[in-house]
């Protein structure tokens, strides 16, 4: 069974880039959010197993979403996919509960590899 997936990024291209990197059988159960606030609403009202999250977004950013997930005590596997690759940011998101930090632009083999490492595939 494919897990419920949410992709959150303010860029349409970046969302598509993640979508096309996903395993075929996952692609039918994907929801999209274009900012942090939208993502939090979807996360609260649905049981999302895997979240692919951008950091630099207007309004509630990726850090805000991670904090929201902690506050709501949601059980969700978060993979941060960001252009902000500073080491301090990478460790910050892990402290806030993200499984992995992946650099933009995302590549399908890298993404699949990480999903496997975390037993999601």
């Amino acid at each position: 069974m494919s897990p419920s997936v949410l992709i959150c990024d303010d860029s349409n291209m970046a969302r598509k880039q993640v979508l096309r990197s996903l395993p075929e059988e996952w692609k039918n159960t994907v929801q999209m959010a274009t900012n942090g606030a939208e993502a939090l609403t979807i996360l609260r009202d649905n049981s999302i197993a895997v979240l692919f999250l951008d950091l630099t977004m207007p309004g509630i950013d990726g850090i805000g979403v991670l904090q929201g997930i902690q506050k709501l005590k949601l059980d969700c596997n978060v993979f941060v996919i960001s252009a902000d690759i500073q080491p301090e940011m990478q460790s910050k998101v892990k402290v806030l509960g993200a499984k992995e930090f992946l650099r933009k632009p995302i590549k399908a083999d890298v993404l699949i590899n990480h999903l496997q490492q975390h037993g999601l595939l």
């Binding site: 291209m13 970046a14 096309r20 630099t56 977004m57 252009a83 500073q86 301090e88 632009p105």
Partner: protein, 202 residues
């Protein structure tokens, strides 16, 4: 307005390429300053030559400009201008933590600009399957009219300026700078083709 009219998809694609390039430029800056750089969503706008002259000449006495030429393949070339407000350029010495006798403030400004410009353009070029080489960066003399003179004396005729508004916040400090890319029309056409090629892959 300009020749650079982009479709919504092209604009989104360009912004994402710039976002990735900005991220890596910030990372370089953070390593150089040995601190964390807080990155905001960069905003991008295109302005034509006349508009740019007007905007810049209004601010002329209150800023420092570092200019650096770049060249890639297939007619992609241009000039990158980093524009600082005077108060921000003064802060850079504090940020860099240089000893007073190490480097002059001008040299520091050139250093930091070159890191930002070359990292940004290298990453941008890589994403569009290109590769850049650069001229030495130079700080424009702050005397009035120098900037417009400089803009008129470019070794190529530029038709459009792509203005990327960058805001860097560095822990206790923050400084703003604008990166302005002056690009000739052939390069614009080329970039549009590349954007379409990338978009066609989706």
């Amino acid at each position: 307005m300009s020749e650079f009219h982009l479709t919504e998809d092209q604009q989104d694609c360009l912004e994402e390429l710039i976002n990735i390039a900005m991220g890596q430029a910030s990372d370089q800056l953070a390593r150089y300053l040995d601190t964390f750089v807080y990155l905001k969503v960069p905003s991008i706008e295109s302005v034509d030559a006349k508009e740019l002259m007007q905007t810049l000449s209004q601010q002329e006495n209150t800023m420092a400009v570092v200019s650096q030429g770049f060249f890639g393949y297939e007619g992609i070339r241009g000039e990158a201008l980093l524009v600082y407000q005077e108060e921000d350029s003064g802060r850079i010495a504090d940020l860099l933590g240089y000893e007073p006798d190490e480097l002059s403030q001008d040299e520091q400004l050139i250093d930091i600009s070159s890191i930002l410009t070359t990292t940004f353009l290298n990453v941008f070029a890589r994403q569009i399957d290109n590769q850049m080489s650069y001229n030495a960066p130079k700080l424009l003399p702050s005397a009035k009219d120098n900037l417009s003179e400089h803009l008129q004396q470019m070794p190529f005729s530029w038709d459009l300026a792509l203005k990327v508004n960058i805001n860097y916040q560095v822990t206790d400090y923050s400084f703003n700078c604008n990166m302005i890319l002056l690009i000739p029309e052939t390069a614009i056409t080329n970039i549009k083709h590349v954007l379409d090629r990338i978009l066609a892959e989706f």
